[in-house]
């Protein structure tokens, strides 16, 4: 069972401590530390191959970090180290993520895809489900109503019975976001949410992220290439390069940071 620690300050929800992961000789994430405060919109940026997605996967335990710790304040307010816990148990603690390439089930309707996000909240056993016993029926009905609420919130309620296959990319991104909201998350990790979206959709996404924070009261961590989006919506940003920490601060601090400029644009020639 998880051990609880007091490694987090009152207002912090997640803290990486000296996180490292090595693939053969390559240190994809090297001694990375930063922390995220409650209800913050926090951006993780860096040039291509900087190790952003790897850092993500280390937080959600898809990769097992070689060393370091990931402290997270779970739904019950307890702080625990996520490192070494099974991947499928992470969502139960209140940490949920989206994927860079939108991982949905094309053959299912939009609402069924969203219901997959509610997986952990079903208590009825397979036996009860097979016989449609009262508890299974009641749960299914409640979760379906919740899924409809979430879809209404995302503005795609009228599409709920349409199949995901064949939906435009923007809609599928919204479905994926809706799916994360089903589990009442504390922290949502968005992996390149603006990739493949046009300007209008990106603006909608920014609004959506704000609304999610307001309505669901959660913290948001995003990895993003679209600098305009990151600079406009993030409260704080952490920049990394070649797996190493560069700087952490408000958008304007990051923009003015010489090291960050160097990592993105190269060294100044004298």
């Amino acid at each position: 069972m998880a051990e609880y620690t007091t490694k987090l300050a009152e207002d912090e929800v997640l803290r990486l401590e000296n996180l490292s992961i090595q693939f053969g000789g390559l240190k994809a994430v090297d001694d990375l530390s930063f922390s995220i405060k409650e209800k913050e919109i926090f951006g993780l940026i860096g040039p291509n191959g900087a190790g952003k997605t790897t850092a993500f996967n280390c937080i959600t335990q898809f990769y097992k970090p070689s060393s370091g710790a990931v402290y997270f304040r779970n739904k019950d307010g307890q702080v625990e180290n996520l490192v070494g816990q099974p991947v499928h148990s992470i969502i139960r603690k209140g940490l949920v993520r989206t994927f860079q390439n939108v991982e949905l089930v094309g053959e299912l309707s939009i609402i069924d895809n969203v219901l997959i996000g509610g997986h952990i909240d079903f208590k009825a056993s397979g036996f009860e489900q097979a016989l449609r016993l009262p508890r299974a029926r009641r749960e299914e009905k409640l979760m379906r109503e919740k899924a409809e609420d979430v879809l209404r919130f995302m503005g795609i309620a009228e599409l709920k019975d349409a199949l995901v296959a064949g939906q435009p990319y923007g809609i599928r991104k919204k479905v994926e976001m809706a799916r994360t909201l089903m589990c009442n998350p504390k922290l949502i990790i968005l992996d390149e949410p603006a990739a493949g979206l046009n300007d209008v959709e990106t603006q909608q996404l920014a609004d959506n992220i704000y609304q999610v924070r307001e309505k669901y009261g959660c913290t948001i961590l995003l990895v993003e290439h679209d600098m305009r989006l990151v600079m406009s919506i993030c409260d704080r940003i952490c920049a990394i390069s070649f797996g190493k920490f560069l700087a952490c601060g408000t958008p304007s601090e990051i923009q003015g940071n010489a090291q960050v400029q160097e990592a993105y644009l190269g060294e100044k020639e004298e």
Binding site: T60, L104, V105, L115, I116, H119, I120
Partner: protein, 339 residues
């Protein structure tokens, strides 16, 4: 108006549809008694139902969870032998035989599920095929229980200890089993469990991120598929009344695979339709054709050609023809309305 809408929702209730479907196919013995159809039809359609039951299980595994198995035949045989041995040699009631014939194979199924965590696709297919062959060889060799090469006999079921069924009544029992399983499968696939299986097929990483334990749901998928297959086998032995080891070879597993590909992945009626097309049609029609009908193994050629045709032109399975015809009509009537 009110009456019309309740009537409509009555017709749309999936459970009533399954029961209605069951009643229709259980009318077959009546037609045979009336002399409209030949007696051999009962055996052929009964076999179709048995194949459809095993195929429902494979559909849960391959169609929903995206896991392959070529071991269906071995588990059907295992179910058949266990039930034949328990009811025949040990004289246990039919109900006990069926129950044991499901539980013991499911334990094997769970072991394969465990192995499946370390294997994907082709390799899983090979391993399940090996398990099936090992089982078949066991049926050959374990003579005291299985009767070896000469096979083993069984009787028609005796329900509750004193209701002895004949062939046509056993056929109705098969229909009842099929309809009940269709309802169970409908419930399972439309709830949390079914969505978890879908999620696993769609993307393993996303499924895990949503809290789906791959271990748990792979075990569930394999044990369900094994339970369906072994039940089908146990029903087989009490319907055909005889079982040979040489029956449970790869062609049976491939026929069941062909059933769900031809009929329609993830469709319950499609599974039955597939069983009719792949299993019953060759017996009912092809073998009646002069000269060609005498070719050995014609039904395999037939299902091979069918799979190619369906995958090329109707990748969703033959069951979609009905949907497309309906669409055509709806479109047609709309156009008329516009004009």
């Amino acid at each position: 108006m009110q009456k019309g809408s309740t009537q409509k929702s009555f017709l749309k209730n999936p459970y009533l549809q399954y029961i209605f479907f069951g009643i229709i196919i259980s009318l077959l013995p009546v037609l045979v008694n009336a002399g409209i159809l030949k007696t051999s039809w009962v055996g052929i359609i009964g076999g179709t139902i048995i194949y459809a039951i095993a195929a429902l299980g494979l559909n849960l595994l391959l169609g929903y969870s995206g896991l392959i198995s070529l071991g269906t035949a071995g588990f059907m045989g295992l179910g058949a032998y266990i039930s034949a041995y328990l009811t025949g040699d040990l004289g246990l009631p039919w109900e006990v035989g069926i129950l044991a014939a499901i539980i013991i194979p499911v334990i094997f199924g769970l072991l394969i599920g465990l192995a499946s965590l370390r294997m994907e696709g082709l390799y899983l297919g090979i391993v399940t095929l090996c398990v099936s062959e090992v089982l078949r060889k066991t049926f050959d060799e374990l003579e005291p229980i299985t009767g070896g090469f000469s096979g083993k006999g069984a009787e028609y079921p005796t329900l509750l200890g004193n209701i002895v069924l004949n062939q046509k009544q056993t056929y109705v029992l098969l229909v009842v089993a099929l309809v009940l399983l269709m309802m169970l499968t409908h419930n399972l696939t439309n709830g949390q469990l079914g969505r978890a299986l879908h999620a696993m097929r769609g993307s393993q990483v996303a499924a895990q991120a949503m809290g789906v334990s791959l271990l748990k749901y792979r075990l569930i998928a394999f044990s369900l598929a094994t339970a369906y297959a072994s039940l089908a086998g146990a029903l087989y032995v009490h319907f055909i009344k005889f079982v040979y080891p040489s029956t449970w070879t790869l062609p049976v597993s491939l026929t069941i695979l062909a059933i769900i590909v031809v009929g329609g992945m993830r469709s319950l009626y499609g599974t039955f339709l597939g069983a009719v097309i792949v299993y019953a049609l060759p017996d009912l029609l092809l073998k009646r054709i002069p000269v060609i009908g005498d070719i050995n193994g014609l039904s395999y050629v037939f299902s091979g050609v069918l799979i190619i045709v369906v995958i090329l032109f109707y990748p969703g399975g033959v069951i979609n023809i009905f949907r497309d015809i309906k669409k055509l009509f709806v479109k047609g009537s709309k156009k008329e309305g516009e004009v």
